[in-house]
């Protein structure tokens, strides 16, 4: 099941990048996909961590939400950079991640880093160390809205 879906994704990737649709190139593409699948299968990488198809439907609502968060926090950071006095108050906090799986915690850390103004500096088990540009940013991340949202995206809450 996962192998088939990974194969479809890889073949679509080939079609996108090549742009030539002759018989020869298509068959070479199929050969490459099969070779990759054999190698990956041998390495045992096709599991819920390597190819998380179960999360796919939830990306449709999660990514737009994340994009809007990024826009909001970007405007805040831009305002800070452009103001002459540079009103920053860097803060480090420790946050307990609510996600269950390692994929969920990795997603949480990446989303923190992706939004400008907050930055993951380390992960130990389920505790995430966060560096925030301002105190307000640290308060925001401690309030746990993002934490909750990523847990929902992961499917454990």
């Amino acid at each position: 099941m996962r192998t088939v879906s990974l194969g479809i994704v890889l073949f679509l990737f080939w079609l996108t990048l090549s742009g030539h649709y002759t018989n020869f190139l298509l068959s070479v593409g199929v050969g490459c996909v099969v070779l990759c699948l054999l190698l990956v299968h041998r390495m045992g990488l096709i599991d819920s961590e390597g190819h998380p198809i179960a999360m796919l439907p939830r990306t449709l609502t999660y990514y737009p939400w994340l994009a809007w968060e990024i826009v909001k926090s970007s405007l805040g950071v831009a305002k800070i950079i452009l103001s002459p006095s540079l009103p920053i108050s860097p803060t480090m906090t420790l946050i307990k991640a609510r996600q269950k799986t390692s994929v969920g915690i990795a997603t949480f850390g990446n989303c923190i880093t992706l939004t400008p103004g907050t930055l993951t500096t380390g992960v130990a088990d389920d505790e995430v160390t966060v560096h925030a540009l301002t105190r307000d940013g640290a308060n925001d991340i401690q309030a746990g809205r993002l934490n909750q949202r990523v847990a929902k995206f992961e499917g454990s809450a």
């Binding site: 994009a67 950079i81 920053i88 108050s89 860097p90 480090m92 989303c111 992706l114 400008p116 540009l133």
Partner: protein, 118 residues
């Protein structure tokens, strides 16, 4: 006709926003006082600046293979930018480049070194 005008205007707007934010991020990289705060400015370039520019270019290209390739570059940004940023931050902490903090809410360890900076 009007639809084309709307799309043209929207892509113009997005490319303008992207250009402005790229420059703002670069100004931030020059102005900020230490490595960690500079990383915040850099992520401004990588997310909103790059994202808005690429979305504007996608609207210009219409439904072609070029749009798919631009979307792929956008996904590449979304997946790799946090990894690189996190790697820089962790390496800096490992070499004991400590951030200048206004307040620290971590429970303190002996020696003031965080447990993650292995």
């Amino acid at each position: 006709m009007t639809m084309e005008m709307v799309i043209f205007g929207l892509s113009w707007l997005l490319i303008g926003i992207g250009s402005v934010f790229v420059v703002i991020g670069a100004v931030g990289i020059v102005r900020m006082p230490d490595v960690f705060t500079r990383l915040h400015a850099a992520s401004l370039i990588e997310t909103l600046g790059g994202g808005a520019l690429l979305l504007g270019l996608m609207l210009q290209a219409g439904f072609t293979l070029v749009t798919l390739k631009l979307a792929m570059i956008l996904l590449l940004f979304v997946f790799t930018a946090p990894v690189a940023t996190h790697a820089v931050a962790q390496a800096a902490l490992h070499q004991e480049v400590m951030p200048k903090l206004a307040s620290d809410r971590r429970p303190h360890q002996a020696g003031g070194k965080s447990p993650e900076a292995r």
